[in-house]
Symmetry: C2
Subunit: 217 residues, 2 copies
DNA sequence: GTAAAAATTTAGATTAGTCTAAAAAAATAT
DNA sequence: ATATTTTTTTAGACTAATCTAAATTTTTAC
Protein backbone atom coordinates (compact mmCIF):
# COMPACT_ATOMS: atom_id res chain seq x y z
CA UNK A 1 0.00 0.00 0.00
CA UNK A 2 1.54 3.28 -1.14
CA UNK A 3 0.75 6.74 0.22
CA UNK A 4 -0.41 9.47 -2.14
CA UNK A 5 3.07 10.97 -2.11
CA UNK A 6 4.73 7.63 -2.76
CA UNK A 7 2.37 7.05 -5.70
CA UNK A 8 3.36 10.40 -7.17
CA UNK A 9 7.07 9.68 -6.83
CA UNK A 10 6.67 6.22 -8.34
CA UNK A 11 4.67 7.56 -11.28
CA UNK A 12 7.33 10.21 -11.92
CA UNK A 13 10.07 7.56 -11.81
CA UNK A 14 8.10 5.42 -14.22
CA UNK A 15 7.67 8.29 -16.69
CA UNK A 16 11.26 9.56 -16.38
CA UNK A 17 12.60 6.05 -16.94
CA UNK A 18 10.55 5.67 -20.15
CA UNK A 19 8.47 2.94 -18.64
CA UNK A 20 11.36 1.26 -16.87
CA UNK A 21 13.91 1.35 -19.68
CA UNK A 22 16.57 3.44 -17.97
CA UNK A 23 17.58 4.50 -14.48
CA UNK A 24 16.54 7.81 -12.99
CA UNK A 25 18.91 10.13 -11.19
CA UNK A 26 18.21 11.87 -7.90
CA UNK A 27 18.40 15.36 -9.36
CA UNK A 28 16.03 14.77 -12.26
CA UNK A 29 13.53 13.31 -9.86
CA UNK A 30 13.96 16.29 -7.54
CA UNK A 31 13.35 18.59 -10.49
CA UNK A 32 10.28 16.65 -11.64
CA UNK A 33 8.80 16.49 -8.15
CA UNK A 34 9.62 20.09 -7.28
CA UNK A 35 11.53 18.99 -4.20
CA UNK A 36 15.13 18.92 -3.09
CA UNK A 37 17.61 16.12 -3.71
CA UNK A 38 17.74 15.34 0.01
CA UNK A 39 13.99 14.73 0.08
CA UNK A 40 14.28 12.46 -2.92
CA UNK A 41 16.96 10.37 -1.23
CA UNK A 42 14.66 9.89 1.76
CA UNK A 43 11.71 8.88 -0.39
CA UNK A 44 13.85 6.58 -2.50
CA UNK A 45 14.68 4.65 0.65
CA UNK A 46 10.99 4.23 1.44
CA UNK A 47 10.12 3.10 -2.06
CA UNK A 48 13.05 0.66 -2.06
CA UNK A 49 11.84 -0.76 1.26
CA UNK A 50 8.47 -1.33 -0.40
CA UNK A 51 10.22 -3.07 -3.30
CA UNK A 52 8.72 -0.90 -6.03
CA UNK A 53 12.12 0.46 -7.03
CA UNK A 54 15.71 -0.62 -6.63
CA UNK A 55 18.37 1.86 -5.66
CA UNK A 56 22.07 1.78 -6.23
CA UNK A 57 23.60 4.49 -4.12
CA UNK A 58 24.87 7.45 -6.15
CA UNK A 59 23.78 5.77 -9.41
CA UNK A 60 20.03 6.26 -9.51
CA UNK A 61 16.89 4.15 -9.25
CA UNK A 62 15.06 1.62 -11.40
CA UNK A 63 11.45 0.49 -11.16
CA UNK A 64 10.91 -3.15 -10.28
CA UNK A 65 8.22 -5.16 -12.04
CA UNK A 66 6.01 -4.73 -8.99
CA UNK A 67 6.66 -0.98 -9.17
CA UNK A 68 5.90 -0.92 -12.86
CA UNK A 69 2.48 -2.46 -12.43
CA UNK A 70 1.64 -0.18 -9.49
CA UNK A 71 2.69 2.85 -11.54
CA UNK A 72 0.56 1.65 -14.44
CA UNK A 73 -2.46 1.37 -12.16
CA UNK A 74 -2.09 5.01 -11.17
CA UNK A 75 -1.67 5.97 -14.83
CA UNK A 76 -4.74 3.90 -15.71
CA UNK A 77 -6.79 5.80 -13.17
CA UNK A 78 -5.38 9.16 -14.30
CA UNK A 79 -6.26 8.54 -17.93
CA UNK A 80 -9.68 7.07 -17.24
CA UNK A 81 -10.57 10.11 -15.13
CA UNK A 82 -9.30 12.47 -17.84
CA UNK A 83 -11.51 10.65 -20.32
CA UNK A 84 -14.48 10.95 -17.97
CA UNK A 85 -13.93 14.67 -17.45
CA UNK A 86 -13.78 15.38 -21.18
CA UNK A 87 -16.38 12.94 -22.50
CA UNK A 88 -18.97 13.06 -19.75
CA UNK A 89 -18.50 16.37 -17.95
CA UNK A 90 -17.53 18.50 -20.94
CA UNK A 91 -14.13 19.67 -19.73
CA UNK A 92 -11.70 20.98 -22.34
CA UNK A 93 -8.64 18.75 -22.78
CA UNK A 94 -6.36 21.38 -21.30
CA UNK A 95 -8.39 21.56 -18.06
CA UNK A 96 -8.30 17.95 -16.94
CA UNK A 97 -4.77 17.27 -15.81
CA UNK A 98 -4.83 18.99 -12.38
CA UNK A 99 -8.09 17.34 -11.38
CA UNK A 100 -6.94 13.93 -12.64
CA UNK A 101 -3.81 14.36 -10.52
CA UNK A 102 -6.11 14.27 -7.50
CA UNK A 103 -8.59 11.67 -8.73
CA UNK A 104 -5.86 9.17 -9.65
CA UNK A 105 -5.29 8.53 -5.94
CA UNK A 106 -8.85 7.48 -5.10
CA UNK A 107 -8.59 3.95 -3.84
CA UNK A 108 -11.38 1.67 -5.07
CA UNK A 109 -10.93 -1.16 -7.55
CA UNK A 110 -14.69 -1.34 -8.01
CA UNK A 111 -14.89 2.36 -8.85
CA UNK A 112 -12.30 2.09 -11.59
CA UNK A 113 -13.90 -0.99 -13.13
CA UNK A 114 -17.32 0.70 -13.13
CA UNK A 115 -15.86 3.89 -14.54
CA UNK A 116 -14.10 1.97 -17.30
CA UNK A 117 -17.37 0.25 -18.17
CA UNK A 118 -19.30 3.53 -18.06
CA UNK A 119 -16.84 5.07 -20.52
CA UNK A 120 -17.12 2.07 -22.86
CA UNK A 121 -13.62 0.68 -22.19
CA UNK A 122 -11.69 3.48 -23.93
CA UNK A 123 -8.26 2.56 -25.35
CA UNK A 124 -6.78 6.06 -25.21
CA UNK A 125 -7.29 9.22 -23.16
CA UNK A 126 -8.25 12.64 -24.61
CA UNK A 127 -4.63 13.34 -25.54
CA UNK A 128 -4.25 10.02 -27.34
CA UNK A 129 -2.24 8.38 -24.56
CA UNK A 130 -2.98 4.67 -24.17
CA UNK A 131 -4.93 3.53 -21.10
CA UNK A 132 -3.38 0.51 -19.29
CA UNK A 133 -5.82 -2.39 -18.86
CA UNK A 134 -7.01 -3.74 -15.52
CA UNK A 135 -4.15 -6.24 -15.49
CA UNK A 136 -1.65 -3.40 -15.62
CA UNK A 137 -0.71 -4.04 -19.24
CA UNK A 138 0.02 -1.04 -21.42
CA UNK A 139 -0.16 -1.36 -25.19
CA UNK A 140 2.69 0.86 -26.32
CA UNK A 141 1.85 2.37 -29.67
CA UNK A 142 4.86 3.09 -31.87
CA UNK A 143 4.58 6.85 -32.24
CA UNK A 144 6.75 9.51 -33.84
CA UNK A 145 6.63 13.28 -33.67
CA UNK A 146 6.02 14.91 -37.06
CA UNK A 147 9.19 17.01 -36.86
CA UNK A 148 10.97 13.74 -37.69
CA UNK A 149 9.01 13.31 -40.94
CA UNK A 150 9.37 14.76 -44.39
CA UNK A 151 7.36 16.59 -47.03
CA UNK A 152 4.67 14.41 -48.50
CA UNK A 153 3.97 12.38 -45.37
CA UNK A 154 0.29 11.92 -44.68
CA UNK A 155 -1.53 10.15 -41.92
CA UNK A 156 -3.65 10.65 -38.83
CA UNK A 157 -2.71 12.28 -35.57
CA UNK A 158 -2.33 9.56 -32.91
CA UNK A 159 -1.62 11.67 -29.85
CA UNK A 160 -0.30 15.00 -28.60
CA UNK A 161 2.09 15.70 -25.75
CA UNK A 162 -0.05 16.79 -22.82
CA UNK A 163 2.53 18.54 -20.69
CA UNK A 164 1.48 22.16 -21.17
CA UNK A 165 -2.02 23.61 -20.94
CA UNK A 166 -1.26 26.51 -23.30
CA UNK A 167 0.10 24.13 -25.92
CA UNK A 168 -3.08 22.08 -25.64
CA UNK A 169 -5.25 25.17 -26.11
CA UNK A 170 -3.27 26.05 -29.24
CA UNK A 171 -3.43 22.52 -30.64
CA UNK A 172 -7.16 22.51 -30.09
CA UNK A 173 -7.49 25.83 -31.94
CA UNK A 174 -5.68 24.48 -35.00
CA UNK A 175 -7.71 21.26 -34.70
CA UNK A 176 -4.64 19.12 -34.05
CA UNK A 177 -6.50 16.38 -32.21
CA UNK A 178 -6.10 12.59 -32.18
CA UNK A 179 -7.83 11.15 -35.23
CA UNK A 180 -7.45 14.26 -37.41
CA UNK A 181 -5.87 13.83 -40.88
CA UNK A 182 -2.55 15.55 -41.35
CA UNK A 183 -0.21 16.06 -44.34
CA UNK A 184 3.20 17.69 -44.45
CA UNK A 185 3.28 20.26 -47.25
CA UNK A 186 6.53 22.06 -46.55
CA UNK A 187 9.47 22.08 -44.18
CA UNK A 188 11.94 24.91 -43.66
CA UNK A 189 15.48 23.65 -43.16
CA UNK A 190 16.55 26.85 -41.40
CA UNK A 191 14.29 26.63 -38.32
CA UNK A 192 12.42 23.38 -38.79
CA UNK A 193 9.06 25.10 -39.15
CA UNK A 194 6.46 23.34 -41.27
CA UNK A 195 3.49 23.97 -43.47
CA UNK A 196 0.88 21.33 -42.88
CA UNK A 197 -2.56 20.43 -44.13
CA UNK A 198 -4.71 19.64 -41.17
CA UNK A 199 -8.44 18.93 -41.19
CA UNK A 200 -8.47 20.44 -44.73
CA UNK A 201 -6.80 23.75 -44.02
CA UNK A 202 -3.18 24.80 -44.45
CA UNK A 203 -1.22 26.33 -41.61
CA UNK A 204 2.35 27.02 -40.58
CA UNK A 205 3.65 25.63 -37.32
CA UNK A 206 6.96 26.06 -35.52
CA UNK A 207 9.33 23.18 -34.89
CA UNK A 208 8.44 23.40 -31.21
CA UNK A 209 4.81 22.66 -32.02
CA UNK A 210 5.66 19.93 -34.53
CA UNK A 211 7.57 18.09 -31.80
CA UNK A 212 4.35 17.72 -29.86
CA UNK A 213 2.17 16.20 -32.57
CA UNK A 214 2.54 12.42 -32.77
CA UNK A 215 1.51 10.03 -35.54
CA UNK A 216 1.64 6.25 -35.72
CA UNK A 217 4.98 4.65 -36.55
CA UNK B 1 -7.78 26.07 3.05
CA UNK B 2 -8.39 22.98 5.13
CA UNK B 3 -6.44 19.73 4.96
CA UNK B 4 -8.25 16.46 4.32
CA UNK B 5 -8.07 15.62 8.01
CA UNK B 6 -9.34 19.03 9.04
CA UNK B 7 -12.26 18.66 6.62
CA UNK B 8 -13.16 15.34 8.18
CA UNK B 9 -13.08 16.73 11.71
CA UNK B 10 -15.13 19.76 10.69
CA UNK B 11 -17.72 17.61 8.95
CA UNK B 12 -18.00 15.39 12.04
CA UNK B 13 -18.43 18.46 14.26
CA UNK B 14 -21.12 19.76 11.93
CA UNK B 15 -23.03 16.48 12.01
CA UNK B 16 -22.62 15.93 15.77
CA UNK B 17 -23.82 19.47 16.46
CA UNK B 18 -26.99 18.92 14.38
CA UNK B 19 -25.89 21.46 11.84
CA UNK B 20 -24.53 23.91 14.39
CA UNK B 21 -27.38 23.77 16.90
CA UNK B 22 -25.41 22.51 19.89
CA UNK B 23 -21.82 22.26 21.10
CA UNK B 24 -19.76 19.14 20.65
CA UNK B 25 -17.67 17.64 23.43
CA UNK B 26 -14.11 16.40 23.05
CA UNK B 27 -14.95 12.80 23.88
CA UNK B 28 -17.84 12.45 21.42
CA UNK B 29 -15.64 13.84 18.70
CA UNK B 30 -12.86 11.43 19.67
CA UNK B 31 -15.35 8.58 19.47
CA UNK B 32 -16.72 9.72 16.10
CA UNK B 33 -13.26 10.21 14.61
CA UNK B 34 -11.81 7.04 16.07
CA UNK B 35 -9.04 8.95 17.77
CA UNK B 36 -8.07 9.84 21.31
CA UNK B 37 -9.25 12.90 23.24
CA UNK B 38 -5.71 14.32 23.24
CA UNK B 39 -5.62 14.26 19.45
CA UNK B 40 -8.98 15.99 19.33
CA UNK B 41 -7.75 18.78 21.58
CA UNK B 42 -4.82 19.36 19.24
CA UNK B 43 -7.01 19.45 16.16
CA UNK B 44 -9.56 21.68 17.84
CA UNK B 45 -6.81 24.25 18.32
CA UNK B 46 -5.98 24.16 14.62
CA UNK B 47 -9.60 24.49 13.55
CA UNK B 48 -10.10 27.37 16.00
CA UNK B 49 -7.05 29.11 14.56
CA UNK B 50 -8.67 28.80 11.14
CA UNK B 51 -11.89 30.26 12.55
CA UNK B 52 -14.15 27.42 11.44
CA UNK B 53 -15.01 26.53 15.03
CA UNK B 54 -14.91 28.28 18.38
CA UNK B 55 -13.64 26.51 21.42
CA UNK B 56 -14.34 27.17 25.06
CA UNK B 57 -11.85 25.17 27.05
CA UNK B 58 -13.40 22.20 28.85
CA UNK B 59 -16.86 23.06 27.44
CA UNK B 60 -16.74 21.88 23.83
CA UNK B 61 -16.71 23.42 20.37
CA UNK B 62 -19.21 25.17 18.11
CA UNK B 63 -19.05 25.66 14.35
CA UNK B 64 -18.78 29.26 13.19
CA UNK B 65 -20.79 30.41 10.18
CA UNK B 66 -17.64 30.15 8.10
CA UNK B 67 -17.19 26.59 9.39
CA UNK B 68 -20.79 25.76 8.66
CA UNK B 69 -20.51 26.73 5.02
CA UNK B 70 -17.22 24.88 4.61
CA UNK B 71 -18.73 21.77 6.17
CA UNK B 72 -21.74 22.06 3.86
CA UNK B 73 -19.45 22.22 0.84
CA UNK B 74 -17.85 18.92 1.85
CA UNK B 75 -21.30 17.42 2.43
CA UNK B 76 -22.44 18.74 -0.96
CA UNK B 77 -19.52 16.99 -2.63
CA UNK B 78 -20.10 13.78 -0.65
CA UNK B 79 -23.77 13.58 -1.63
CA UNK B 80 -23.23 14.54 -5.27
CA UNK B 81 -20.58 11.83 -5.60
CA UNK B 82 -22.88 9.28 -3.93
CA UNK B 83 -25.58 10.21 -6.43
CA UNK B 84 -23.11 9.83 -9.30
CA UNK B 85 -21.97 6.42 -8.09
CA UNK B 86 -25.53 5.10 -7.85
CA UNK B 87 -27.16 6.76 -10.84
CA UNK B 88 -24.34 6.69 -13.36
CA UNK B 89 -22.01 3.89 -12.31
CA UNK B 90 -24.62 1.47 -10.98
CA UNK B 91 -23.34 1.13 -7.42
CA UNK B 92 -25.77 -0.17 -4.82
CA UNK B 93 -26.66 2.45 -2.22
CA UNK B 94 -24.83 0.57 0.51
CA UNK B 95 -21.55 0.60 -1.45
CA UNK B 96 -21.08 4.32 -2.01
CA UNK B 97 -20.20 5.80 1.35
CA UNK B 98 -16.54 4.72 1.61
CA UNK B 99 -15.73 5.92 -1.88
CA UNK B 100 -17.60 9.20 -1.35
CA UNK B 101 -15.52 9.71 1.81
CA UNK B 102 -12.51 9.91 -0.47
CA UNK B 103 -14.08 11.78 -3.37
CA UNK B 104 -15.52 14.52 -1.13
CA UNK B 105 -11.99 15.87 -0.66
CA UNK B 106 -11.22 16.42 -4.34
CA UNK B 107 -10.61 20.11 -4.69
CA UNK B 108 -12.12 21.64 -7.84
CA UNK B 109 -15.06 24.01 -7.91
CA UNK B 110 -15.43 23.46 -11.65
CA UNK B 111 -15.60 19.68 -11.19
CA UNK B 112 -18.45 19.92 -8.70
CA UNK B 113 -20.45 22.35 -10.82
CA UNK B 114 -20.02 20.13 -13.88
CA UNK B 115 -20.91 17.03 -11.90
CA UNK B 116 -24.03 18.71 -10.51
CA UNK B 117 -25.06 19.67 -14.05
CA UNK B 118 -24.30 16.15 -15.37
CA UNK B 119 -26.55 14.66 -12.68
CA UNK B 120 -29.37 17.10 -13.50
CA UNK B 121 -29.06 19.15 -10.28
CA UNK B 122 -30.37 16.49 -7.91
CA UNK B 123 -32.03 17.73 -4.70
CA UNK B 124 -31.34 14.63 -2.63
CA UNK B 125 -28.74 11.84 -2.56
CA UNK B 126 -29.56 8.10 -2.90
CA UNK B 127 -30.49 7.88 0.79
CA UNK B 128 -32.85 10.84 0.56
CA UNK B 129 -30.45 13.27 2.25
CA UNK B 130 -30.69 16.81 0.88
CA UNK B 131 -27.79 18.13 -1.22
CA UNK B 132 -26.59 21.63 -0.24
CA UNK B 133 -26.60 24.09 -3.17
CA UNK B 134 -23.48 25.79 -4.56
CA UNK B 135 -23.98 28.72 -2.18
CA UNK B 136 -23.72 26.38 0.79
CA UNK B 137 -27.42 26.51 1.58
CA UNK B 138 -29.06 23.35 2.83
CA UNK B 139 -32.81 22.96 2.57
CA UNK B 140 -33.65 21.09 5.76
CA UNK B 141 -36.65 18.91 5.18
CA UNK B 142 -38.79 18.34 8.27
CA UNK B 143 -38.52 14.59 8.64
CA UNK B 144 -39.73 12.12 11.23
CA UNK B 145 -38.91 8.46 11.79
CA UNK B 146 -41.94 6.20 11.45
CA UNK B 147 -41.48 4.72 14.94
CA UNK B 148 -42.96 8.06 16.11
CA UNK B 149 -46.14 7.58 14.06
CA UNK B 150 -49.31 5.63 14.67
CA UNK B 151 -51.49 3.03 12.99
CA UNK B 152 -53.20 4.40 9.94
CA UNK B 153 -50.46 6.81 8.91
CA UNK B 154 -49.71 6.74 5.23
CA UNK B 155 -47.24 8.64 3.13
CA UNK B 156 -44.03 8.33 1.17
CA UNK B 157 -40.58 7.48 2.41
CA UNK B 158 -38.46 10.65 2.31
CA UNK B 159 -35.11 9.28 3.42
CA UNK B 160 -33.35 6.49 5.29
CA UNK B 161 -30.52 6.75 7.79
CA UNK B 162 -27.34 5.86 5.91
CA UNK B 163 -25.07 4.97 8.77
CA UNK B 164 -24.85 1.21 8.36
CA UNK B 165 -24.25 -0.76 5.18
CA UNK B 166 -26.09 -3.86 6.43
CA UNK B 167 -29.13 -1.79 7.33
CA UNK B 168 -29.10 -0.30 3.84
CA UNK B 169 -28.96 -3.76 2.27
CA UNK B 170 -31.95 -4.85 4.35
CA UNK B 171 -33.93 -1.69 3.55
CA UNK B 172 -33.25 -2.23 -0.12
CA UNK B 173 -34.47 -5.82 0.12
CA UNK B 174 -37.80 -4.76 1.64
CA UNK B 175 -37.97 -1.93 -0.92
CA UNK B 176 -37.85 0.77 1.73
CA UNK B 177 -36.43 3.45 -0.56
CA UNK B 178 -37.06 7.18 -0.86
CA UNK B 179 -40.26 7.75 -2.83
CA UNK B 180 -41.86 4.41 -1.94
CA UNK B 181 -45.41 4.49 -0.48
CA UNK B 182 -45.70 3.31 3.08
CA UNK B 183 -48.63 2.70 5.46
CA UNK B 184 -48.59 1.69 9.10
CA UNK B 185 -50.89 -1.27 9.61
CA UNK B 186 -50.03 -2.31 13.14
CA UNK B 187 -47.81 -1.41 16.05
CA UNK B 188 -46.91 -3.63 19.01
CA UNK B 189 -46.79 -1.73 22.29
CA UNK B 190 -44.53 -4.31 23.92
CA UNK B 191 -41.44 -3.95 21.67
CA UNK B 192 -42.41 -1.19 19.27
CA UNK B 193 -42.33 -3.52 16.24
CA UNK B 194 -44.62 -2.65 13.35
CA UNK B 195 -46.55 -4.17 10.53
CA UNK B 196 -46.35 -1.95 7.48
CA UNK B 197 -47.59 -1.90 3.93
CA UNK B 198 -44.71 -1.00 1.69
CA UNK B 199 -44.72 -0.99 -2.11
CA UNK B 200 -47.92 -3.08 -1.90
CA UNK B 201 -46.73 -5.87 0.35
CA UNK B 202 -47.10 -6.31 4.10
CA UNK B 203 -44.12 -6.93 6.32
CA UNK B 204 -43.13 -6.80 9.98
CA UNK B 205 -40.22 -4.66 11.02
CA UNK B 206 -38.51 -4.19 14.37
CA UNK B 207 -38.48 -0.87 16.22
CA UNK B 208 -34.79 -0.56 15.37
CA UNK B 209 -35.58 -0.64 11.67
CA UNK B 210 -38.55 1.71 12.02
CA UNK B 211 -36.26 4.31 13.60
CA UNK B 212 -34.28 4.45 10.36
CA UNK B 213 -37.13 5.07 7.94
CA UNK B 214 -38.01 8.75 7.62
CA UNK B 215 -41.10 10.41 6.15
CA UNK B 216 -41.95 14.07 5.60
CA UNK B 217 -43.22 16.12 8.54
C1' DG C 1 46.50 11.13 -11.71
C1' DT C 2 45.30 14.83 -8.81
C1' DA C 3 42.32 18.79 -7.98
C1' DA C 4 38.08 21.15 -8.62
C1' DA C 5 33.24 20.75 -9.56
C1' DA C 6 28.94 18.45 -9.46
C1' DA C 7 25.86 15.12 -7.65
C1' DT C 8 24.27 12.51 -3.85
C1' DT C 9 23.71 11.22 0.78
C1' DT C 10 23.62 12.11 5.76
C1' DA C 11 22.64 14.97 9.84
C1' DG C 12 19.67 17.62 12.19
C1' DA C 13 15.24 20.50 12.12
C1' DT C 14 10.31 21.41 11.18
C1' DT C 15 5.23 20.60 10.52
C1' DA C 16 0.92 17.70 10.54
C1' DG C 17 -1.28 14.24 12.80
C1' DT C 18 -1.21 10.92 16.05
C1' DC C 19 -0.29 8.49 20.62
C1' DT C 20 0.45 7.53 26.05
C1' DA C 21 0.93 9.23 30.49
C1' DA C 22 0.45 12.92 33.63
C1' DA C 23 -1.71 17.19 35.20
C1' DA C 24 -5.67 20.10 35.64
C1' DA C 25 -10.49 21.24 35.66
C1' DA C 26 -15.36 20.06 36.04
C1' DA C 27 -19.00 17.07 37.46
C1' DT C 28 -20.85 13.93 40.87
C1' DA C 29 -21.62 11.70 45.01
C1' DT C 30 -21.62 11.50 49.71
C1' DA D 1 -18.53 21.09 51.36
C1' DT D 2 -15.27 17.79 50.38
C1' DA D 3 -13.72 13.81 48.15
C1' DT D 4 -13.96 10.93 44.26
C1' DT D 5 -14.73 10.20 39.48
C1' DT D 6 -14.88 11.77 34.85
C1' DT D 7 -13.50 14.78 31.30
C1' DT D 8 -10.26 17.61 29.16
C1' DT D 9 -5.87 19.54 28.44
C1' DT D 10 -0.82 19.49 28.49
C1' DA D 11 3.75 17.30 28.05
C1' DG D 12 6.60 14.58 25.60
C1' DA D 13 7.30 11.28 21.92
C1' DC D 14 6.60 9.07 17.25
C1' DT D 15 6.05 8.83 11.87
C1' DA D 16 5.72 10.91 7.15
C1' DA D 17 7.32 14.32 4.31
C1' DT D 18 9.86 18.09 3.85
C1' DC D 19 13.89 21.47 4.36
C1' DT D 20 19.03 23.51 4.93
C1' DA D 21 23.68 22.71 5.68
C1' DA D 22 27.44 19.60 5.94
C1' DA D 23 29.77 15.41 4.54
C1' DT D 24 30.69 12.05 1.07
C1' DT D 25 31.16 10.11 -3.48
C1' DT D 26 31.50 10.49 -8.35
C1' DT D 27 32.60 13.06 -12.42
C1' DT D 28 35.24 16.32 -15.01
C1' DA D 29 39.04 19.07 -16.01
C1' DC D 30 43.69 19.90 -16.35
MN1 LIG E 1 -3.57 12.70 -20.61
MN1 LIG F 1 -22.45 8.86 2.87
MN1 LIG G 1 -13.90 12.23 4.47
MN1 LIG H 1 -25.89 9.69 1.76
Amino acid sequence: MLSLTEENYLKAIYHLSDGGNRSVLTNELAEAMNTKAASVTDMVKKLSAKAVISHEKYYGVNVTSKGKSEALMVIRKHRLWETFLVQKLGFAWDEVHEVAEQLEHINSARLIEKLDEFLGYPKVDPHGDPIPDNKGKLKILPQIAIDQLNIGYQGKIAAVKDSDSNLLKYLDKIEARPGTKIKILGKEDYDGSMEILIADHRIFISKEVSQNILVIE
